[in-house]
């Protein structure tokens, strides 16, 4: 495949292609006589002008959607979904589509560089041998306990490789972190599962088979866990059954994109989710008759409704709807979990599901299966664990830090002090593909390939069928980058001894094959008798997965028996507004450097290319704030400035802000654009160790400045602005 094209040939091809595409309707002399250079050795299955398709895995988030990438003459042209992959069944989200603009991004790290923690991307390039020597020295000359690996959210082959390495040399296990995990409060969900089901795992909500769905703040149509799969599930829930249209209710303080698709959006006071869930449970239990389960005994629906600012009749009506439903389902998520009582929210929602008796039934709650070749569920680090890690770094407990696939300087709340801690680490080696904030604060950047140029596999965390999604390069690397796995393998070989013994592999592919060996002969989407044909199929189909779902049924007994103390969440800070940060549905955590993702209109506000603060128009007018006025949001931890968007569907006591912009580095499209809500987040955690990111109260100050937000929508046509009311 593309290995047979030399990099030089590829570049030439690319230039020739660019030249031909650059001149279109006009006929400049440059376009008239292009040179065309064929492949040095034409792969026998390609013809000029005909596309070749490669199956791989999307690396834009950790959901492990399968992709099929159309390539033509060594260039990746278009991303399609892999119809075989059970996670996304041929579909993609906007971020997946735009991954090509990451591959061909003008601001990639093109060479290994000695960054030396400069403000700009260093121009001091190294060759790869020197880079490997540096990594090898760092591994060999540091006490294993003082080496740390910080990785992205994806449970992929690199994580396995680094884990193996760490285990073999006695270093601490690699830490995985990502802003999406933080804003999804994954630790809380898995802790709730552990508490109630006795097993730390991700609960699986069978959305597609449910008929009445109530969600507490879960943003499953945006970025939550596996948005493409959940969107498909939502569509099936809505229209899959021709007899009955699925009914969907969302409890959330602001109308998120997910809530905008709800039949009923019920704005509740932030922090009262568990109260409402328990109250609903009590109402349901009462409606069903029989003894009141202990879980719901201590809540008073009337006061709970009053606390939440919801009418009791609404709760009663919903309770009736749930009782009558054939397949009711309640989902927790998003900001509801990111509060001081987030664990209680998760647990009370699971208890509510238990009460509804949907455990293990279609449209109900399950426990996610482990992915193939996985020994246990390794959830990403919670913010609390990151805080401990930061403390270790600050105390000099980390001498060498390897960072790959994560940008904590940008993603973690500034208040936690990751940047300062990073400064206390003597040697930081980044493997970033893009010059992000963390990479710039490193000593060296040894850039990894872009996801579409890499080998690998990735486990699907949330999937009914255990999925190991396969990745392969669809094009030859565009820049002088090298797979981080290869760098570690080479460095380990160079270091010799236990390092070489830990990783006795010729290259990344050999390592991957060693992991795939255990699947040879397994029954699944395909079955192969030996490793070479298994690998070939694995690449051809874009991964391996079982043919049947492998969901486990949790036991309802514990959930329903747990006694909850109904209490609203506590909020940190003095301000008058609840602060509700959410991940931008279009940008995600790392989409800001792709121009087309910037150009996409946010689904609810239609804002492009910037950050905004959502505020109820009534509240804003009381404060004398208009659209596009820049306000300063002040919390106990910090402050941030952004223009106001008067959002009609948000509680008057809540302001919301999308996460994803506010980069100070990360390329020309991202840097210096918008603001980062993480700057105002404090260091409060819930019982599961997740950041209570929605547990802040903030003050809003006018700055007197304005910045006109670019919106796709018309302010005249949608809000009647500029028209005197008749």
């Amino acid at each position: 495949m593309s290995k047979q094209i030399s990099r030089r040939d590829f570049l030439k091809l690319a230039t020739a292609g660019a030249a031909t595409t650059a001149v279109l309707t006009g006929c400049g002399p440059t376009s008239r006589f292009v040179s065309r250079e064929p492949y040095l050795k034409m792969p026998e299955y390609t013809y000029n002008g005909m596309s070749t398709y490669y199956a791989t895995t999307c690396r834009e988030c950790a959901a492990a959607c399968g992709l099929v990438v159309r390539t033509m003459q060594g260039r990746a042209i278009k991303v399609e979904g892999n119809a075989n992959n059970p996670v996304n069944l041929g579909k993609t989200c906007a971020r997946g589509q735009a991954t090509l603009q990451g591959l061909y991004n003008p601001d990639r790290v093109e060479n290994p560089v000695k960054q030396a923690r400069g403000a700009q991307l260093s121009q001091e390039t190294l060759d790869w041998n020197a880079a490997i020597q540096i990594v090898s020295d760092a591994l060999k000359n540091t006490k294993p306990s003082e080496i740390a690996f910080l990785m992205g959210m994806a449970p992929d082959h690199l994580f396995d490789l680094v884990s193996d390495l760490a285990k073999a040399i006695g270093a601490p296990a690699p830490i995985r972190f990502g802003a999406l995990g933080m804003f999804e409060a994954r630790a809380t969900l898995s802790k709730a599962a552990e508490d109630l089901f006795g097993k730390a795992s991700m609960p699986f909500f069978d959305l597609e088979n449910a008929d009445v769905v109530i969600s507490f703040g879960s943003n499953f149509l945006e970025t939550w866990l596996s948005p493409v799969a959940l969107t498909r599930g939502f569509a099936k829930m809505r229209r899959g059954n021709p007899e009955r249209r699925g009914y969907f209710v969302q409890f959330e303080a602001r109308m998120s994109q997910t809530a905008s698709k709800a039949d009923e959006w019920i704005p509740l006071r932030p922090g009262t989710e568990s109260l409402v869930a328990l109250a609903l449970g009590r109402l349901i239990a009462e409606a069903k008759g029989g003894s009141l389960p202990p879980a719901f005994a201590s809540v008073d629906p009337l006061t709970a409704a009053a606390d939440a600012g919801v009418q009791l009749e609404v709760l009663e009506r919903l309770a009736q709807a749930l009782v009558k439903a054939n397949r009711p389902l309640v989902i927790p998520g998003g900001a509801a979990l990111g509060q001081s009582n987030g664990l209680a929210v998760a647990e009370s929602v699971l208890a509510l599901n238990a009460l509804l008796g949907n455990f293990g039934l279609p449209g109900g709650v399950f426990i996610s299966p482990l992915a193939p070749a996985q020994d246990a569920y390794h959830r990403p680090a919670s913010a609390k664990e990151m805080t401990d890690f930061i403390a270790k770094m600050k105390n000099g407990g980390v001498k060498v830090l390897f960072v790959h696939g994560v940008n904590p300087v940008f993603e973690l709340p500034k208040h936690l002090g990751f940047a300062e801690a990073l400064a206390a680490v003597p040697q930081v080696i980044s493997f970033a593909t893009f010059p992000d904030e963390t990479a710039l604060a490193s000593d060296y950047i040894f850039p990894d390939h872009h996801g579409l140029e890499s080998w690998g596999y990735q486990r699907a965390v949330v999937s009914a069928k255990p999925v190991l999604s396969g990745a392969q390069p669809v094009v030859t690397p565009y820049f002088n980058t090298r797979a981080t796995a290869d760098v570690f393998l080479a460095a380990a070989a160079l270091a010799g001894g236990k390092f070489a013994e830990a990783l006795p592999f010729a290259d990344e592919v050999a390592f991957i094959q060693s992991k795939l060996t255990q699947l040879v002969g397994e029954e699944g989407f395909f079955t192969a008798p030996e490793i070479n044909s298994f690998t070939a199929y694995f690449q051809q189909y874009g991964g391996w997965w079982t043919s049947d779902p492998a969901l486990a049924t949790p036991s309802a007994a514990n959930a329903i028996a747990k006694r909850f103390t109904p209490a609203a969440a506590e909020f940190a800070g003095e301000g008058e507004f609840f602060f509700l940060p959410f991940v931008s549905p279009t940008l995600g955590e790392a989409g800001a450097n792709k121009p087309w993702l910037q150009e996409l209109a946010d689904p609810t506000t239609t804002v492009m290319w910037n950050t905004w603060v959502e505020m109820n128009p009534v509240t804003a007018h009381e404060l004398g704030i208009e659209n596009d006025d820049i306000v300063e949001i002040v919390s106990e931890a910090g402050s941030v400035e952004a223009p106001v968007y008067l959002y009609p569907a948000i509680r008057p006591d809540v302001i919301a802000m999308p996460f994803g912009q506010g980069h100070t580095a990360y390329g020309r499209f991202a840097s210096g654009r918008g603001a980062n809500p993480a700057d105002v987040l404090g260091s409060h955690f819930n019982e599961a160790g997740d950041l209570a990111f929605a547990g802040m109260k903030v003050a809003v100050k006018k700055t007197g400045k304005t910045k006109v937000l670019s919106r796709l929508e018309s302010r005249i046509g949608v809000y009647g602005e500029g028209l005197e009311k008749e």
């Binding site: 309707t25 018309s714 005249i716 046509g717 500029g722 008749e726």
Partner: protein, 474 residues
């Protein structure tokens, strides 16, 4: 007039007032016209130079920038795809209307007061059309391919789309430009011959006049042919003139846009064009009278007064058509049209809508009723200017402001002019520049027409009454 006690003074008064009754020897008059062309102060050249610089910068340089960078430097957007470019196109075509109107219609109806200023008006037609052409070409995204709009046989077997109002427009404007230039040129021939005979040999002007005068010597046969040709042209150009602006209006009326899809647009645009055109004529006459030598003899308050009356009537007609257009659209009850009418009045550009009504109706009606006021050149200059502002507002309301409102409220968006302001200024400067250049080269007063009129007019006495008699010239 009749109150004067002494006949002699009454006669003097009539002569003073009316150019036609105040004859002057042919030679003297020729002399005066030639002198008016040749008397040029440094101020003229200063203004000329400034305008030339402005044209070079605002029109050609800025246009070049726009061609190179694309229309993004202008203010056009979705949904206001047509901006000031089309406003100016319609505006300049409107300006160009009055020239032909005054010249041809008044010639056909034998309105004698037209005689001294037909030329000035016809020049406006030609120069205005040139600016309209500039504006429409600026408007195009790929102006270098504009020749594709012309029907010409080609090897690709492609033709322009004759369904498109823009194709009709192009043909109509081209026809109008050609015919109005011819119509300007024909009556110019005797005056060019006069200028030729009064220009010393060996100068380039002599060559210029000699070529353009086509060897006119003033024989009886030549005069007969000229008169015949003029009569034919005067009749023929009137339908062309009406068709041009009707077709321009069809650019809008044939579209599916709310607010544009109006059957009254044809006459409404024609009357609007005359309205602005008359305003422009009056402005030009006031300037010419005030700045050029001997012009106070040719252009007198009586002419302003006569044009003032015309303006008043046209203003009323415009008011009628405006009302008609409004009421029909309002009564139609279409949701989007109603939205649009509301937007016109109550939107952020509502001041323009009211400004248009004040300039086009209120001010002319208030001032032009009074004979004394409408005989005052500077006041008429002011009124003409306000009418032109008002009519420009009208086109602005029809083009970018109406385009804001469409059937997709999600896309409604305000239009903010960009580089097209410079280009608009450039066309205005170019118009004035061309006019100034013409005033040094071409006799602005059709001497032969004035003399012909003066020969036909005489004062006769019936009893004690002095009466103006006009003999039939034909």
């Amino acid at each position: 007039m009749a109150d004067h006690k002494h006949h002699t003074s009454h006669e003097e008064h009539l002569r003073e007032q009316h150019l036609m009754l105040d004859p002057m020897p042919r030679g003297k008059m020729n002399e005066m016209v030639m002198e008016s062309m040749h008397t040029t102060s440094w101020k003229f050249w200063l203004v000329f130079g400034l305008l030339a610089a402005l044209v070079a910068y605002a029109l050609f340089y800025k246009w070049g920038v726009m061609i190179l960078e694309g229309l993004g430097v202008a203010g056009v957007n979705r949904p206001s795809y047509w901006g000031i470019f089309l406003v100016n196109t319609v505006f300049w075509i409107g300006i160009s209307h009055a020239g032909t109107f005054i010249s041809a219609i008044l010639r056909v109806f034998k309105a004698e007061f037209r005689r001294p200023f037909t030329r000035a008006a016809e020049l406006m037609t030609t120069f205005g059309l040139i600016q309209a052409g500039f504006s429409i070409f600026m408007h195009m995204g790929r102006v270098w391919l504009s020749y594709w709009l012309m029907p010409y046989p080609n090897q690709r077997q492609l033709w322009p789309n004759f369904h498109s109002p823009l194709s009709w427009d192009l043909l109509a404007i081209t026809t109008y430009l050609l015919s109005s230039t011819m119509y300007l040129f024909l009556p110019l021939i005797p005056d060019l011959a006069m200028a030729r005979d009064r220009t010393p040999d060996g100068t380039w002007q002599k060559v210029f006049y000699r070529i353009l005068a086509l060897g006119f010597r003033g024989t009886e046969g030549e005069w007969t042919h000229l008169r015949n040709a003029l009569n034919i042209f005067a009749f023929a150009i009137i339908p062309v003139m009406f068709s041009v602006h009707t077709i321009v209006s069809w650019d809008f009326a044939m579209a599916t846009r709310p607010g544009w899809n109006s059957t009254i647009f044809g006459p409404y645009f024609v009357v609007g064009a005359l309205h602005s055109g008359m305003g422009a004529v009056v402005m030009v006459l006031a300037v010419v009278r005030g700045t050029m030598k001997h012009m106070k003899y040719f252009i007198r308050p009586e002419h302003f007064e006569a044009i003032g009356k015309l303006m008043l009537i046209i203003s009323m007609a415009w008011g009628y058509f405006f009302f008609n257009d409004y009421i029909v659209q309002w009564y139609g009850g279409d949701k989007w049209t109603k939205e649009l009418l509301h937007w016109h009045e109550a939107g952020p550009m509502g001041w323009m809508w009211f400004g248009m009504l004040i300039c086009n109706v209120a001010i002319p009606w208030a001032i032009l009723w009074n004979k004394k006021w409408r005989s005052t050149p500077w006041l008429l200059f002011l009124v003409g200017m306000l009418i032109n502002v008002g009519m420009w507002f009208e086109r602005y309301i029809i083009v970018p402001i109406s385009l804001t409102i469409n059937r997709m409220p999600f896309t409604w968006r305000l239009y903010q002019p960009g580089i097209e302001v410079w280009l608009g200024i450039g066309t205005l400067a170019f118009f004035i520049l061309l006019y100034m250049a013409a005033s040094r080269l071409i006799p602005l007063i059709p001497v032969w027409e004035v003399q012909e009129g003066q020969m036909a007019h005489s004062l006769k006495k019936y009893g004690r009454e002095t009466v103006v008699a006009v003999s039939d010239l034909e």
